[in-house]
Structures are given as structure tokens and as C-alpha cells.
Subunit: 122 residues, 2 copies
DNA sequence: GTCGATTGACTACAGCTGTAATCAGTGCGA
DNA sequence: TCGCACTGATTACAGCTGTAGTCAATCGAC
């Protein structure tokens, strides 16, 4: 479907998913809070995301207001799916087993999982 | 920890995880069965994997026998962890909720998840 | 109306990735 | 022993990625 979003680009997407629309500078401020990049770098990444059609911009006076074109949920869904396919042959339970064996599951996770399962069985 | 394995390199790793040790040509045969690459391409990828220290080779006469240095389980674990961190803030249950909402969970998956949870609660 | 600040566009460039051709060493068959 | 086939090593090269500098247009202040 839509083009591949690189690691650095994803950081910018996250900033846009947090709030939108935003000006380039707003996005840069947000991004620079966590990554030590220059404003120009963020703007370049915005351009590339535009080229990939995963964000859009509406002119507002002499600047642009950027907004995501793909929902975070959709992105997350497709990435999760890709991982499951690539590493677990499309099966989800081995992934969970994997995470469980790494002790990545907190007590809260377990409780929530039970809820989810309960919902699925009905 | 160990260096990043690229998409194409991963295909070669899978071939080595399937069986090892193998000669370069064995690996190439396996890989070429699913990807339309040249033997040279596979050999280049083997070299790069060597450089990244994720595989090793033992001389056998005038050729080499390649074998993985990282276990598939370890790789899969670290990739899964990375995904969970990158997209779900380190929480596992949103991932499951995500996959569940995509209907990626089969009945078998659900049954297995219940087993896993049962094990974890004890 | 001119000048500086703001902001997007263009350009840069090294390193990684995908894909492969070519080179060079070496052991085997004639 | 001499050349060929096999195999790893070296080199190639375009496209993507990370990171950023510079250019050019324009809007507001004086």
C-alpha cells in the first residue's frame, strides 16, 4: 500500500499523531524535545513524508499546516501484521509465547489479555 | 547488541536457521527457491552477515561451511521487543488488542493464548 | 519601498541496502 | 604440469536513509 516509513520519518509521524495540524516548527519543537536534530532535518523529513503521501499540508498564510494522512492505528496494524508474518509465519500466539518467555508481560498485561480473550470468545 | 540485520539479509539467515552448517551454494539454493536472486547476491549477503558477526564460517577444504551465530529465537525476541517498544510504548496488551481487532487471531490462537495465560498466572 | 526574519524548496553527502559482475586463488582432471 | 572450474573476495552502482546547509520567496516592520 503506502510507501515504507523509515525510522527517522516515524519519529516525525509520531509528533504529528500527537497533535495535528501543526506547522513545521511545531513539529520540529516536538521532535527536537526527544531527538537532537536540527530544524532542517525535521523539515526534510516532512518533505519526504509528503512525497510518500503519508502526510498532507494545507497552506495557512505563508506557512503550511501539516497533518497525517494515515491513521496511527492503521500504521501500527500493518506493521504488527508485517512482523507477525515475517517472523512467526502469520501466527499470533507464538509471538505472545515469545513475549511471555521474555517476561515482557506485566500483571496488568495479563489482566488485560484475559479481558480481550473474554471479549473474543463471546 | 549485535548489528542490524536488513530485510534481504534476514532471508539468508532464515535459510541458515533452517539448516546449518551449509556451504554458500546450499544457502543460495535454498534462498533462490523463494527469491529470484543470483548466487552472487546471496554470497554478498553472506559476507555482510559475516562482517556483522551474526554468522560464522568454518573452512572445509576449499569452501566454507556457514552457520548462524545468533539463535533465531534471540533474534525474534529482540525484534518483537523492538516493535513493542517502538509502537506500543513497551506494553504488550495493546499489541494483542490491535491484532485482535484486525481479526488476526484464529480460534487456535485464542486457545493457545488461554493456555499461556493459565501458565503465567500460576 | 527597503530590509530583515521566517519558512519552504533545493542541494549535499556519507553510509546502508539490494543486486550483481568481475577478479583471483586453488585444487582436480587431462 | 597446465588449464579449467569452483569458490570466496573485491568492486560496482543505484536507490534509500540520516542529517543538514544554503537558496529563494515573501511578509511584516520601519
Amino acid at each position: 500500500m503506502s510507501e515504507k516509513i523509515s525510522e527517522a520519518e516515524l519519529v516525525v509521524m509520531e509528533a504529528l499523531w500527537e497533535a495535528s495540524p501543526q506547522t513545521a516548527n511545531d513539529v520540529a519543537d516536538r521532535v527536537i524535545a526527544s531527538r537532537d536534530w536540527s530544524v532542517q532535518t525535521v523539515k526534510t523529513l516532512l518533505s519526504r513524508l509528503m512525497a510518500k503521501d503519508v502526510i498532507a499540508a494545507d497552506q495557512d498564510g505563508r506557512r503550511f499546516l501539516y497533518r497525517p494522512m494515515v491513521a496511527r492505528d492503521d500504521y501500527v496494524a500493518s506493521e504488527s501484521g508485517r512482523l507477525v508474518n515475517r517472523l512467526f509465519g502469520g501466527r499470533v500466539s507464538p509471538l505472545i509465547a515469545q513475549l511471555a518467555s521474555q517476561d515482557q508481560l506485566t500483571a496488568d498485561d495479563i489482566a488485560e489479555l484475559e479481558e480481550i480473550l473474554k471479549g473474543l470468545k463471546s
